[in-house]
Amino acid sequence: MTVENQIQETIGANDVVLFMKGTKAMPNCGFSSKVVGIMNYLDIDYTTVNILDSDEMRQGLKDYSDWPTFPQLYVKGEFVGGCDIVVEMALSGELDDLFESNDVTYNKDAAGKLREANQ
């Protein structure tokens, strides 16, 4: 299977996928850690792929997403963005809209609290 097929299979089979450096339990980079923190806080059911495990996957994703950095968040097969974008969307409420329009369950109270705490 080509890397591109692997990526398509992963983002097709899972509603929310975070391609990151490290794991949920032990993120290996501050930016990945920040997005894991947001996903956990919002109670998102998400899958992670550690791109440090495979140089081929790492390069393949950069090409597939046309995006040079990690983490990379996908929702329902669509690329959402990296850390800056996810943080901005969480604080603006756009992330709530994205999850709602894609039938992804998230903790609304937590999303509100996150915004309150970062006003």
Binding site: K21, N28, C29, G30, F31, D66, W67, P68, T69, F79, G81, G82, C83, D84, I85, E88, M89
Partner: protein, 85 residues
């Protein structure tokens, strides 16, 4: 040229920004992954330009990535972007 000046130069030329700051945050990451002695590895960019008008968040970041070029992006370890009109 220092890396932050190169970044400034590229973005100035590409977007004619009304506001532009490039901060080298490398020292804050001493001892972490990607840190190099001498810094110039971790940057925070704040840019305001009418050029981003009507563009999505993804499109804005892509435009900045493109202006900086693959070589620059490969050279630095981390880049935080705050982009608006």
């Amino acid at each position: 040229m220092r890396v932050e000046d190169e970044i400034k130069h590229s973005l100035q030329g590409a977007f004619n920004p009304s506001e532009l700051s490039v901060i080298d945050e490398s020292e804050r990451h001493r001892g972490h992954a990607g840190y190099r002695e001498g810094g110039q590895t971790h940057f925070r960019v704040r840019i305001r330009s009418q050029a981003f008008c009507g563009q999505s968040r993804l499109a804005r970041q892509r435009a900045v990535h493109e202006a900086l070029g693959a070589q620059m992006l490969a050279n630095i370890h981390a880049l935080t972007l705050d982009i608006d009109t």
